[in-house]
C-alpha cells in the first residue's frame, strides 16, 4: 500500500478519537487527524479550534492556521479564546485533543518553545535559546484542562528525550503522582502517536512504554530512535495498516497533499 509515515501517523491518531467527543484540534497534523476521524468513523464528533471556530470542516485543504479562511467558510459559531480555551478547555469540559511536539519526554512532557545547548533546568538560568520554536499556544491549556489528549510527534532520538529542554505543555512531570499533586482538572496525555508506533503511560509510574509499532519498522528501530530506555509491552502488537477506505478518507481532508509532501 502506498502511504507516507505522516499519513500513517494521522490515521492511527484518528483511530484514537471516539464519535461524539468534544475535541479541540491544534494547527497542522492534529487538525488533519481530527477531521479524518470525523469523515471516517466519528460523524458526531464536535471539533473546535482554540480561536472558537465551531461546527466547521476544512474547505480546500489543510488550513494554514486555526482561524484560516479554509476553516471559516462553514462555521456555525465564531467566538474567542476566552470561550474556547477558558470555558471549554481550562474548565475541564473538553473530552479530547490532539497536539504536536518538537520534543517529548518519557513522562509525556512536551516542548514546543525552544532548543538550548544547555537547557534552563541544567544551566539554572534562562538564556535565549539556540533555536526558538513557537511557544505553547493553546497546547499548554489543553495539557492541563482536557479530560485526555493525544500527542503526535516524529519519532527521532533528538525528539524522544529522557528530559525535554523546556516543559511547554505539562504531561506527567516527573512521573508517579507528581502531576496529581498539582491538582489540574485534566487527566493528562493518553498516548503518544509517533511516526513509528503507539506509546502509552504506565498506570503507576506514568512512564511511556511501547504498546504497538507499525509494520514497516521493528522494535529495535523504535528503541534506537528513543533517547530513554524504552520499555516494551509484554503484549506488544503490530499496528494494523491503514485500509484503502481510511486512506481515501484522510486524503479527502488533506486535498492539497500536505502529509504526502512531508514524508
Amino acid at each position: 500500500m502506498d502511504y507516507t509515515k505522516q499519513e500513517f501517523m494521522a490515521i492511527i491518531t484518528g483511530r484514537e478519537i471516539k464519535d461524539g467527543e468534544l475535541i479541540i484540534l491544534g494547527v497542522g497534523l492534529p487538525m488533519l487527524a481530527g477531521y479524518f476521524a470525523q469523515t471516517n468513523h466519528a460523524p458526531n464528533l464536535r471539533p473546535f479550534t482554540e480561536g472558537g471556530v465551531y461546527g466547521s470542516t476544512p474547505v480546500g485543504g489543510l488550513p494554514w492556521g486555526i482561524e484560516c479562511n479554509r476553516i471559516s467558510a462553514n462555521a456555525t459559531s465564531f467566538t474567542n479564546a476566552i470561550d474556547a480555551l477558558g470555558f471549554l478547555v481550562l474548565s475541564g469540559r473538553a473530552d479530547n485533543a490532539v497536539i504536536g511536539a518538537a520534543q517529548v519526554d518519557k513522562y509525556g512532557n512536551v516542548n514546543t518553545t525552544g532548543i538550548w545547548d544547555e537547557p534552563p533546568w541544567k544551566a539554572g538560568k534562562y538564556l535565549p535559546p539556540r533555536v526558538r520554536l513557537n511557544g505553547s499556544g493553546g497546547a499548554s491549556d489543553i495539557s492541563v484542562g482536557c479530560k485526555r489528549y493525544l500527542i503526535m510527534a516524529s519519532h527521532e532520538k533528538r525528539r524522544f528525550m529522557e528530559k525535554v529542554d523546556y516543559i511547554s505543555s505539562t504531561g506527567f512531570l516527573t512521573g508517579g503522582d507528581s502531576r496529581k499533586k498539582c491538582g489540574f482538572v485534566g487527566g493528562g496525555p493518553a498516548a503518544i502517536i509517533s511516526t513509528l508506533g503507539i506509546l502509552r503511560p504506565d498506570p503507576q509510574t506514568k512512564e511511556f512504554y511501547l504498546e504497538a509499532y507499525y509494520p514497516f519498522t521493528t522494535i529495535d528501530e523504535v528503541k534506537a530512535s528513543t533517547d530513554w530506555d524504552l520499555k516494551i509491552s509484554p503484549d506488544v502488537k503490530i499496528v494494523i495498516e491503514p485500509t484503502d477506505e481510511e486512506l481515501e478518507n484522510l486524503r479527502s481532508v488533506d486535498v492539497t497533499g500536505f502529509l504526502r509532501k512531508n514524508g
Binding site: 479562511n69 478547555v89 533546568w121 511557544g135
Partner: protein
C-alpha cells in the same frame, strides 16, 4: 457621537511613541491583524517597544526584524503552517528582544483581568511548568518565583499561580467593518479582540470597510467593539495583507512565505522594507504595490458570503474621503 476617522500616518503619529506598551490586535497569526499599522510604525521609526502579542503575526515579525522591539509577551510566536517567525526568532536568539512566554489561554485571561482592572488573575495554567519557572525578565532565577507567583485559594487552601494582568498603552485592532465612530463588527474568530479593546488605555481600529451606523443598529448584538472605548478609526482596505480577513480576502500564500524568508537576515529585512514598507504613502500606492492580479486572487475567498448581509451599508471611498476631510477641520 464623534467622527473618529484618521489617516494611518496621523494615527501612528498621535497614538504611538518610543518605549510604549503596544498591542497588535490580531486574530491569530494567519488571520485578521493590523499589519498596515505596524508597517507605518516602521516607517515612522518607532523603537524600544514593549509588545503584547497574544499570538505573533507578520506584524510583530516585521517590527522585531527591524529591531524595534525590546520586549514581547506571547502565547504563541510562530506563523502556524507558514512556519516559525524568522524575524522575531532572530531578535530573540540574538538577545535583542526579551520574550516572556505564557499559554494562549493565559494571555486571554490576562487581557480579561486588565479589562476588569483587577490586580491579578488566578492561574490554573502556565504553572508547574517552564512557563512559570523561566522568565526573560529575571533570567538569573530558575525556577523563577516572581513571574507567576504562587497564591493560596482562600476557600480550599489549594495552591495556584497569579497572573499579572495587562493594560497596554494602545491597541491597534484590525476589524472587518466599523462605522466612523468606532463601532465595529468582526467576522471570523474574535480571538482576544473583545477583551483587548477593554483592557487597552487607547484603542485605534484599523478597518477593511467603513459602514453606515444603520448597519450597527441592524445587528447590535454583533457589535463587540463599541465606540465608547475607541479613540480613532483608520480606513485601510486589505490592512491585514498578507494575512487573511474572513469574509473579504484569503491569506496571500506566496507573500506569507516570501516575507518570512526575508525577515531571516538584517540585509534582507532592509531590502524588504525598501520594496514593501517604505514605498507607499497613499492607499492607492499600497494597492498598486500588492497588484491587481493578487488582489483579485485573494478576494476570491470561500468566506465571501459572510459579507452578504452587510454589503448595502458599505460606504464608498468618495464618501469616506469627504468624512475624513471633515475630521481635519
Amino acid at each position: 457621537m464623534q467622527n473618529k476617522l484618521l489617516s494611518i500616518q496621523e494615527a501612528v503619529a498621535n497614538y504611538t511613541w518610543d518605549g510604549m506598551t503596544y498591542c497588535n490586535g490580531a486574530a491569530l497569526p494567519v488571520g485578521s491583524c493590523s499589519i498596515a499599522f505596524g508597517k507605518e510604525m516602521v516607517k515612522q521609526k518607532r523603537k524600544n517597544l514593549n509588545v503584547i502579542c497574544h499570538c505573533g503575526s507578520q506584524q510583530i515579525n516585521l517590527l522585531a526584524a527591524v529591531g524595534a522591539v525590546d520586549r514581547v509577551e506571547v502565547g504563541f510566536s510562530g506563523l502556524e503552517v507558514y512556519g516559525f517567525a524568522a524575524g522575531l526568532n532572530r531578535a530573540v536568539i540574538s538577545g535583542k528582544t526579551r520574550m516572556e512566554d505564557y499559554s494562549n489561554g493565559a494571555m486571554a485571561l490576562r487581557f480579561f483581568g486588565g479589562a476588569m482592572n483587577w490586580p491579578f488573575v488566578p492561574a490554573t495554567v502556565s504553572i508547574h511548568n517552564d512557563q512559570q519557572w523561566c522568565s526573560a525578565d529575571y533570567p538569573d532565577e530558575y525556577p523563577c518565583t516572581r513571574k507567576i507567583p504562587e497564591i493560596t485559594d482562600p476557600f480550599t487552601g489549594k495552591k495556584y499561580g497569579a497572573f499579572r494582568t495587562i493594560r497596554p498603552d494602545v491597541a491597534a485592532i484590525h476589524v472587518t467593518m466599523a462605522d466612523i465612530y468606532g463601532n465595529a463588527i468582526m467576522l471570523g474568530t474574535e480571538w482576544n479582540r473583545f477583551e483587548m479593546s477593554r483592557a487597552s488605555k487607547k484603542v485605534v481600529l484599523v478597518t477593511d470597510q467603513i459602514v453606515h451606523t444603520d448597519c450597527m443598529r441592524q445587528y447590535p448584538n454583533l457589535v463587540r467593539i463599541i465606540s465608547e472605548v475607541v479613540d480613532a478609526v483608520v480606513y485601510w482596505p486589505y490592512a491585514a495583507w498578507p494575512q487573511a480577513s474572513p469574509g473579504l480576502y484569503d491569506s496571500d500564500e506566496e507573500h506569507m512565505f516570501y516575507m518570512n524568508k526575508m525577515m531571516k537576515t538584517e540585509a534582507d529585512t532592509e531590502a524588504y522594507c525598501d520594496q514593501w514598507v517604505n514605498s507607499w504613502n497613499s492607499h492607492e500606492e499600497y494597492m498598486a504595490l500588492i497588484g491587481e492580479e493578487k488582489i483579485e486572487k485573494i478576494s476570491q475567498t470561500a468566506t465571501g458570503f459572510l459579507m452578504d448581509p452587510y454589503r448595502k451599508w458599505i460606504r464608498s471611498d468618495a464618501e469616506i474621503r469627504e468624512l475624513q476631510d471633515r475630521t481635519k477641520g
